[in-house]
């Protein structure tokens, strides 16, 4: 294959040409600070307003409930730390899960060092949060439940509506890290009883360095980034107008194409999964079979190690990842794969392929062939495989 086959859309996505187009005038021409008095810059305010409306609409939210941030990580930090701070009178207990993104986990760990208590609820072997455990974890002092909408590694979609209802019944705020789900799955903050929701531009063919936090009207959360009066005095810093405009455009496109895109991705994904499972021995699919993102496939190949696999795939022009992009430079196996019960050595042999509707069936077939070849080659070099075969 001449063309690069990019199968790491959960890590980041290319910015769509229409999105770049939409952003371009705001760099050099319409560069003005939207809080300015002069008309030429004040007009930018309406561009920001339009993006905010597009996003709010995609969530069934009010525009005034959308606050732009610098990305999913900042949104997660804000949601969790400032809920903790604003509701510390009520309690100091937070419930989350073992499979959250580090943006949530490390934020919770930070809070644990500052007098808060955090329960990390387990997930089942498919990566679905255990609702009974979650319910049992609730205390009178619980102020927040934070459960991601869909997992970035194994693609499992959580029973968000049920969790929202549990939170609501118990008068607890509910935050969801929807960085992987927003623009890929239909979300309605009211139907799902979501109080806080994080999302990021670059996961849906929008720009990097822009995200938002949905904050339900009436919540007492204050600023996390203090300074100027931007974002209704709740998020300081000169508005990143080009990125906001680009994010708005990306959301518009994502919403418009969602059904068609999901359909195509599902077809590719299911073909990929069924063929890998059928044609490669000693492999397992990670994540839920049905309740998973339409573009996510995650496998563990026994006896081999992920990074080697990735480099060999790269040599065949296939871009993929092992666990999440953030940790792929590290030696520890993914906390998500451990949480669904994989032993370390199997977790090490994991491969995440995250598709887009830009991928063709021919490419998927090529990928399957290459994976088979490479897995075979790596196994032939593996002392673990040698031992296994000799034990037969």
């Amino acid at each position: 294959m001449d063309r690069k086959i990019y199968l790491d859309n959960a890590a980041t996505t290319p910015v769509k040409p229409e999105v770049v187009e939409a952003m371009l005038p705001y760099f050099t021409e319409r560069f003005g600070n939207p809080s300015s008095v002069y008309e030429f810059a004040a007009q930018n305010k309406s561009a920001v307003t339009a993006a905010r409306e597009t996003i709010a609409h995609a969530l069934g939210a009010e525009p005034a409930e959308i606050y732009f941030t610098a990305g999913g990580t900042e949104s997660d930090n804000w949601a969790i730390k400032e809920t903790a701070e604003a509701y510390s009178q009520k309690g100091n207990h937070i419930i989350t899960t073992k499979i959250e993104h580090h943006a949530v986990l490390h934020t919770c760990e930070y809070l644990e060092k500052h007098g808060y208590e955090v329960t990390y609820v387990n997930v089942d072997e498919n990566g679905v949060v255990k609702l009974d455990e979650l319910k049992k974890a609730i205390r009178p002092t619980t102020i927040l439940i934070s459960v991601m909408f869909a997992n970035n590694e194994i693609g499992t979609i959580q029973p968000i509506k049920e969790i929202g209802e549990i939170a609501k019944e118990n008068g607890i705020l509910f935050h969801t890290d929807a960085v992987q789900a927003f623009g890929h799955v239909k979300i309605d903050v009211n139907e799902y009883h979501i109080d806080l929701l994080s999302a990021s531009g670059h996961k849906i063919n929008g720009p990097k360095g822009i995200g938002f936090l949905y904050i339900r009207k009436g919540l007492k959360l204050r600023s996390y980034i203090h300074g100027g009066a931007q974002e209704r005095s709740r998020r300081a810093g000169t508005e990143n107008v080009p990125a906001i405009v680009g994010f708005g455009k990306a959301v518009e496109l994502a919403v418009a194409t969602m059904d068609e895109r999901m359909k195509k991705e599902l077809e590719l994904r299911d073909y990929l999964i069924s063929h890998i499972l059928a044609e490669v021995p000693y492999v397992r699919l990670n994540g839920h079979q049905k309740e998973r993102l339409s573009n996510n496939a995650n496998f563990s190949f026994q006896f081999i190690e992920g990074e080697s696999l990735l480099i060999m795939l790269d040599m065949e022009n296939i871009c993929a990842s092992s666990g999440s992009a953030c940790t792929s430079g590290s030696l520890d196996p993914s906390h998500v794969l451990l949480a669904i019960g994989l032993p370390h050595e199997i977790a090490h042999g994991s491969l995440r392929l995250t598709l887009s509707d830009d991928i063709t069936m021919d490419e998927i077939k090529y990928v399957i062939v290459k994976i088979k070849e490479i897995v075979e080659k790596l196994r032939s070099m593996s002392p673990l495989y040698e031992d296994f075969i000799k034990r037969q």
């Binding site: 006896f303 081999i304 190690e305 992920g306 990074e307 080697s308 480099i311 040599m315 430079g329 590290s330 030696l331 196996p333 370390h344 050595e345 090490h348 032939s380 070099m381 593996s382 002392p383 673990l384 495989y385 040698e386």
Partner: protein
Amino acid sequence: MYTEKVMDHFKNPRNVGEIENASGVGTVGNAKCGDIMRIYLDIDENEIIQDVKFKTFGCGAAVATSSMATELVKGKTVQEALAVTNKAVMEALDGLPPVKVHCSLLAEEAIHAALWDYAEKNGIKIDGLEKPKNDISEHEEEEEY
């Protein structure tokens, strides 16, 4: 991330395989940490390493350091092989990223483990060779922020 030399040894690893009835075999590392190396040595009566093979479960650097380590000891005497340090392996590869330095240590250990096995099988003692740990648990934590 990796130097051209590392990539070359990863793409075309030298001396992959097994040696039947090897003079010495050493396996180090553990699957939990994601690296296992096994080295087979064929040593003749003059204590010269006639052949060497390896198998590795691990990252790109683990494969490349195994490959380079086997190249560095091939044709050498046992004493010369013992003197091949992880630093020598790294240098021969034009360096490794800091997080991957442990792979070169593993390669050094694997050679030592194979030599130890050879010494044990032959009831000899090799000067300067200590019983290798099964696992080089040099799992140093990165500074946490």
